[in-house]
């Protein structure tokens, strides 16, 4: 009832805001950079006669900070599962109830009722993936399914390893490596983590995001990174392979949500439903190079993705994976101190 009232108000507000000048309707998407397939957007625009505008962000924190100030003008945001519960708690999202949408039947069972959005009341899966390592196997022939690459770098890779500076990813990997639990605030464990990181750092060449380009150009011979990046690199450089660290790797998932103050809430809902179509989801994957959580989209994907080891998690790796969580403030504060100490 309440939400229907809200939808009606939102629709009125939409009319008032867009007026007659933009009778065709609009949709403003706020998403991670280099993540949205322009061809899919074009299809959506043609199908629903909507003009789509895309704005980029580079981190969950940036997106949250900007939207929370109010008046962002965006309709759709794509936060990660770590941050999604905050968006919900802070009341920033419109309860669009994708679980009741027409295309919801296509969602893969393991993504239909996730912990970060029980019953899928707000979000639709956009992409999911893993955090692992890529290694140039011409340089290093040993086992690549291990965080040793980063934390106990083999001689062949010393001074050639990059670490993507995502504080949470690096901390989680290090904690799992020393045998701790994700998000732990146990100081005994964290002391080991600090010592591990401090000892590992001299073997790293850089802490940069641009692993795809730099692995390709040979500036790095190994790097911590995301699986989609691993696929992109391998397609251009077959000697580079992606490893699932056996000490523990993490899963992540980015999800499409609609903002409470969205001016084009109806179009945003159409978009949520639209991307749960297997063919459309496959189109998104073809561009961002990650799996999407829509069952049956595999057969529409480009051939090189369908059974790529970067996208389809191998059975032997599966037991080592866990979903990345948002940690307590206490733990976060400790992590940040170790992180600053590490990068001084």
């Amino acid at each position: 009832m309440n939400s229907r009232l809200f939808a009606a108000t939102a629709a009125l507000a939409l009319l008032a805001a867009t007026g007659l000048a933009r009778a065709e309707g609009a949709l403003n998407i706020y998403n991670w950079g280099n993540y949205t397939n322009p061809d899919v957007i074009k299809k959506f625009e043609e199908k629903y006669k909507v003009k789509v505008t895309i704005t980029d962000y580079d981190s969950n924190d940036t997106a949250l900070a900007k939207v929370r100030q109010g008046g962002s003008g965006f309709d759709i945001v794509v936060p990660s599962q770590t941050h999604l519960p905050i968006w919900i708690q802070e009341g920033l999202l419109l309860e669009t109830n994708p679980g009741g949408m027409e295309n919801f039947k296509n969602i893969a069972p393991e993504w239909a009722n996730p912990d970060f959005d029980p019953g899928r009341k707000y979000s639709v899966p956009w992409a999911w993936g893993t955090v692992g390592v890529v290694v140039n196997t011409d340089v290093y022939k040993g086992d690549i399914n291990t965080w040793d690459i980063v934390f106990k770098t083999p001689d062949e890779l010393k001074g050639k390893v990059n670490v993507v500076p995502e504080m949470k990813d690096v901390m989680t990997a290090a904690i799992r490596y020393v045998g701790g639990e994700q998000c732990t605030a146990d100081k005994e464990v964290l002391k080991k983590v600090r010592d591990l990181l401090t000892a590992a750092k001299p073997n790293w060449i850089a802490m940069e995001y641009g692993a795809v380009d730099k692995m390709g150009a040979g500036d790095f011979k190994a790097s911590s990174t995301w699986n989609g990046a691993g696929l992109r690199i391998r397609l251009a450089h077959p000697e580079v392979h992606y490893g699932y660290p056996k000490e523990g790797f993490t899963y992540w998932s980015d999800n499409v949500v609609v903002l409470k103050d969205a001016k084009n809430a109806e179009n945003a809902k159409l978009f949520q439903n639209f991307i749960m179509d297997p063919e459309v989801a496959a189109g998104l994957s073809a561009y961002h190079r990650y799996a999407n959580g829509v069952a049956g989209s595999e057969k529409f994907m480009p051939a090189e993705m369908r059974d790529a080891p970067e996208i389809v998690v191998p059975a032997e790796a599966k037991p080592h994976g866990t979903m990345a969580l948002m940690c307590s403030e206490e733990a976060d504060t400790l992590y940040k101190k170790i992180w600053t100490e590490l990068r001084k």
Binding site: S59, D61, T62, L64, A65, R68, H83, I86, E90, G159, P165, E166, M167, K168, K187, L190, K191, K201, W204, I205, A206, M207, E208, A217, G218, D219, E329, D332, L334, K336, K337, I338, W339, T340, E341, R343, K344
Partner: protein, 306 residues
């Protein structure tokens, strides 16, 4: 009498009012573009960090304390914040070295330009300003292409057989210094050139006539006369260098943070806006101290040469 006085007073008032009106645009600009934002930064530095970024409106000096001090996470003792201090020191050190490099390269360049004929001087000046037409980020990536392992420098050195493996320049302090010196060089050349152009070269000739050596002429005649330009150039280079973000991020590899990266961390993954604000103000204080030192030195020099 009374009326005349009144008229005069009214005129005065009108005059004052007009002055206010006329200066209003400037005052408003100063308020909205300089004082206002700074005041917000200052206020934020005294608040409590919000749970997921942003701030809670609750007074707390914690941010300022943690600029310089930290509580050890393992034994809980309060000590100097070693990490922050070494990041500060790195930034100041690299900014000073950058200033010295640009001075060493910029001074002869400016001298060369100033001693050309009037006509060609404009051409040289024009050439110096060309890099300003290109975006800073693009210039930095150009430097990256040149110094990376498979870049121009290493390829040429290896083809010539001078080195057998590429020299690791990228992701070192040397790379940051190359990038910053390149980017900020024009900021040194232009003010030094402006001083040099006004230099009366008859004084140089007089120096030679009095048997001064080249080095003496440079040190005792040219340098004192162009000193204001050198100081202006050093300030113009030092200030952006200490807060540089793009160049250290792209060329330095991010293993060791600089001030700008540390501040960025607080507003991003670190989610501690008050600390970020306090650090920003600290940078301004460092710049201010540097300026005061320069100005005082410049002032006393002038008195001596009076």
């Amino acid at each position: 009498m009374a009326t005349a006085e009144e008229i005069a007073r009214a005129a005065d008032r009108r005059d004052i009012r007009n002055r206010w009106y006329l200066s209003a645009p400037a005052l408003l600009t100063i308020f909205f573009a300089a004082v206002g934002p700074l005041a917000i930064v200052l206020v934020y530095s005294f608040l409590t960090p919000g749970s997921y970024g942003d701030v809670k409106w609750q007074f707390s000096p914690e941010a300022w304390v943690s600029v310089l001090f930290e509580r050890d996470i393992f034994d809980d003792t309060l000590s100097l914040a070693g990490a922050h201090i070494s990041i500060f020191w790195r930034s100041v050190k690299l900014a000073i070295i950058t200033t010295l490099i640009t001075l060493a390269l910029g001074f002869p360049t400016a001298y060369f330009m100033a001693t050309r004929s009037e006509k060609t001087r404009d051409l040289w000046l024009f050439l110096i300003t060309i890099p300003f037409w290109t975006n800073l980020l693009i210039r930095t990536f150009a430097v990256l292409q040149i110094i990376r392992n498979e870049g121009i420098v290493n390829t040429v050195l290896m083809k010539l057989g001078i080195v057998s493996a590429p020299i690791q320049i990228l992701y070192t302090d040397v790379a940051i210094l190359i990038g910053m010196a390149y980017v900020y060089l024009p900021l040194m050349v232009l003010p030094v050139y402006a001083s040099m152009e006004k230099l009366d070269f008859r004084l140089v000739e007089a120096g030679y006539d009095l048997y001064a050596s080249r080095w003496q002429v440079l040190r005792r005649i040219i340098f004192p006369l162009v000193k204001p330009g050198v100081i202006a150039g050093s300030i113009l280079v030092f200030i952006p260098a200490i807060g540089a973000y793009v160049t250290p991020s792209v060329l330095g590899g991010g293993k060791n943070m600089m001030l700008s990266n540390l501040i960025e961390l607080q507003f991003g993954q670190g989610r501690n806006w008050p600390l970020g604000s306090a650090l920003s103000i600290t940078v301004m204080l460092i710049v201010m101290v540097a300026l005061l030192v320069y100005v005082r030195n410049a002032g006393s020099q002038e008195v001596r040469h009076g």
